[in-house]
């Protein structure tokens, strides 16, 4: 399956570049050390660098933010193609609703996805065992056949476990985790939803949080970031996978996703027609708060 997807991706990328439909195809390639990483293909002849397998975990939508403005003033914003798994397309959907990306500037090469594996294993990532999509909610071209999925894990087991702890236990848990954080911002930078020109974690005026790389600042950053991703985090896990200190960021984001789903019946980016609840104002709305 992976192999036929890979062949189809290469063919499609080559065509798009040859026809001048796009200036660049953003996909995956294998590094000389053998690991999969994001790839930027500008020439048809380079399309064969593209690969597809169960380690293509990066959420490439994050790179669309680099291409929102033209390279030089007065020029047109170049159109790009991007390889997108179902979770990635949900992230793109969030960005479209937020007016970040012009739909016509992105050619979405959607991939039917059987799931990504934990690094160095053949075991599916937990989020992929829970995934219900498998085929992107929209695309300009679809590659691959919808995979047969037999069992899907229960959605909130890990969050429920956390909720079961006492407040003191939870505080101890997160204190231990955040303590390791080095404030490298790899999580934020890997996240398609974190695109603020000036993140509140670095804003000087007003000053929300100082420069110290200490527990209070780190905890503040993580809690605020999780709030800023409320109803927007698509659970792509790009943040957690980028974190050099192995901090279980997804647990934090999923706790909030669970609340959002309970309150608004909304899954981030899950449907092209429904705008995100926190960007919606309804006069008649009553919430059980």
């Amino acid at each position: 399956m992976s192999e036929s997807i890979q062949t189809a991706l290469r063919t499609r990328a080559r065509e798009l570049l040859e026809l001048g439909e796009v200036s660049c195809v953003i996909g995956y390639e294998r590094s000389p050390r053998g690991r999969v990483r994001p790839a930027f293909i500008y020439e048809p002849a380079d399309a064969d660098r593209l690969v597809w397998d169960n380690t293509c975990h990066h959420n490439l939508m994050v790179y669309l933010h680099d291409r929102k403005t033209p390279p030089r003033r007065g020029e047109e914003v170049p159109r790009v193609a991007v390889v997108a798994k179902p979770c990635d397309v949900r992230a793109l959907n969030v960005l479209l609703h937020e007016g970040q990306i012009a739909r016509e500037k992105v050619f979405v090469i959607g991939v039917a996805c059987a799931g990504m594996c934990e690094e160095g294993t053949e075991e599916l990532q937990a989020r992929c065992r829970r995934c219900r999509e498998r085929v992107p909610i929209f695309y300009d071209a679809l590659v691959g056949e919808p995979p047969k999925v037999t069992a899907v894990d229960e959605d909130w087991a890990d969050v429920v476990e956390l909720e079961g702890m006492s407040a003191a236990e939870r505080l101890a848990f997160w204190t231990r985790e955040f303590d390791r954080c080095i404030r490298c911002y790899a999580c934020r930078q890997a996240c398609p939803g974190c695109y603020c020109f000036e993140c509140m974690a670095e804003q000087v005026d007003p000053l929300w949080v100082g420069i110290a790389i200490e527990l209070p600042e780190k905890a503040f950053f993580h809690v605020m970031r999780a709030y800023h991703l409320a109803g927007r985090c698509v659970e792509c896990n790009a943040c957690e996978l980028a974190c050099p200190m192995h901090i279980p960021l997804s647990l934090l984001n999923r706790k909030i996703a669970k609340e959002v789903e309970a309150l608004f019946g909304y899954r981030a980016g899950g449907d092209p027609q429904t705008p995100p609840p926190l960007a919606t104002f309804r006069k008649d709305e009553e919430l059980p708060l």
Binding site: S31, F40, V62, F173, C184, I211, H246, P248
Partner: protein, 350 residues
């Protein structure tokens, strides 16, 4: 040369802990019992916590010399009286099992922070207060390329004591007087056994001479290389020789009785978008191309020219940590090839 067993070494460490802070490789559990762990240099309370067999720690030990956050001084103002308290670090530290590349990284930091005026008093003081116990690597680990930068897995040039693992324990080599002094109390026997020579085979990574870099500054290559960069701080924070910081003053208390201000220094990174933003909002390094290129030029062109030291020791950490597979050895290979191509083209024209 002395020979000692691991048990004797552990007993010596335990005794050291009575009078100095001992920092050693330590296993840290992650993710609330999810089974993953990280190896970090951390202060240890007992030799039982020390990991003796390891490859490379996730972070370099530079934070014990240039902490990720430190108070430089405090200012108290009461009515008309102002006092300034400089918080120079006093603690004696022993850094146990530092790898040769990381020790060499400290030599690079010395060139920049001590041998160059104005010297960094805080860093210099920690350097003076710390004794380095090196542990030779038997060979290069994945991602390592110290030999390409003039280092070696058994290089003892930058430590006070060097340990080599051998059958039955460790060979202990006293390199400096500071090292000899620290070893008092170690149970060991004299031996004429020579130090084992580590396997130096590693990747061949061409490192372009400092003066060859400026000609490549405007190549499209840098934009293409940085396409995938996320502009995070990970590579710079794990690196033993990256040393950028930010300094800010924070008012901790202010009231009718006076005011208390702290001057804080924390790590910063040239890879961050805001790093070079100046008053008025102008940013001379506006894109990630400018920033990634700067990191490499800093290491291989600016630092060697301004301070006499290549600011990379080949520890490989930035390769291992990069979430998107940016690889400094790959860059060095491509840059060397690019330089060769440009030179060829230049000849053709001439």
């Amino acid at each position: 040369m002395k020979l000692t067993s691991r048990e004797q070494l552990a007993a010596w460490l335990d005794a050291l802990m009575e009078r100095a802070t001992v920092i050693a490789p330590r296993q840290v559990e992650c993710g609330g019992g999810s089974g993953t762990h990280l190896l970090l240099y951390q202060p240890v309370a007992s030799s039982a916590e020390v990991v003796f067999d390891f490859q490379r720690t996730a972070m370099s030990p530079k934070g014990y010399f240039l902490p990720s956050t430190e108070v430089l001084f405090e200012i108290e103002k009461r009515s008309n009286e102002v006092t300034l308290d400089e918080a120079l670090p006093q603690d004696e530290q022993v850094l146990f099992a530092i790898r040769p590349c990381d020790a060499r990284g400290l030599r690079v930091l010395d060139a920049l922070l001590v041998e160059h005026e104005p010297a960094d008093a805080y860093y210099a003081q920690r350097r003076r207060n710390t004794t380095l116990v090196g542990l030779a690597c038997p060979h290069l680990w994945p991602e390592c390329f110290c030999t390409a930068i003039g280092g070696a897995p058994d290089d003892s040039a930058d430590v006070d004591i060097m340990l080599y693992e051998v059958d039955g324990g460790y060979l202990v080599s006293e390199i400096t007087e500071k090292g000899t002094a620290l070893l008092a109390g170690l149970n060991a026997e004299e031996t004429d056994q020579p130090a084992p020579v580590s396997d130096r085979s590693g990747p061949s990574v061409p490192v372009l001479a400092p003066e060859a870099w400026p000609a490549l500054f405007n190549e499209l290559y840098w934009a293409r290389l940085s396409d995938r960069c996320l502009s995070c701080h990970a590579c710079t924070y794990v690196c033993p020789t990256c040393r950028c910081f930010d300094v800010r003053d924070y008012t901790r208390a202010a009231g009718p009785n006076g005011i208390h201000i702290e001057r804080l220094r924390s790590w910063d990174s040239c890879m961050a978008a805001a790093y070079r933003r100046i008053a008025g909002g102008h940013n001379p390094r506006p894109s990630k191309m400018h920033r990634l290129r700067n990191r490499y030029y800093c290491k291989f062109n600016y630092c060697p020219q301004d301070f006499g030291a290549v600011a990379c020791v080949g520890c490989g950490r930035c390769i291992a940590v990069c979430p998107v597979g940016i690889d400094i050895t790959e860059m060095l290979g491509e840059v060397a090839a690019l330089a060769a191509t440009l030179e060829e083209r230049g000849k053709g024209k001439g």
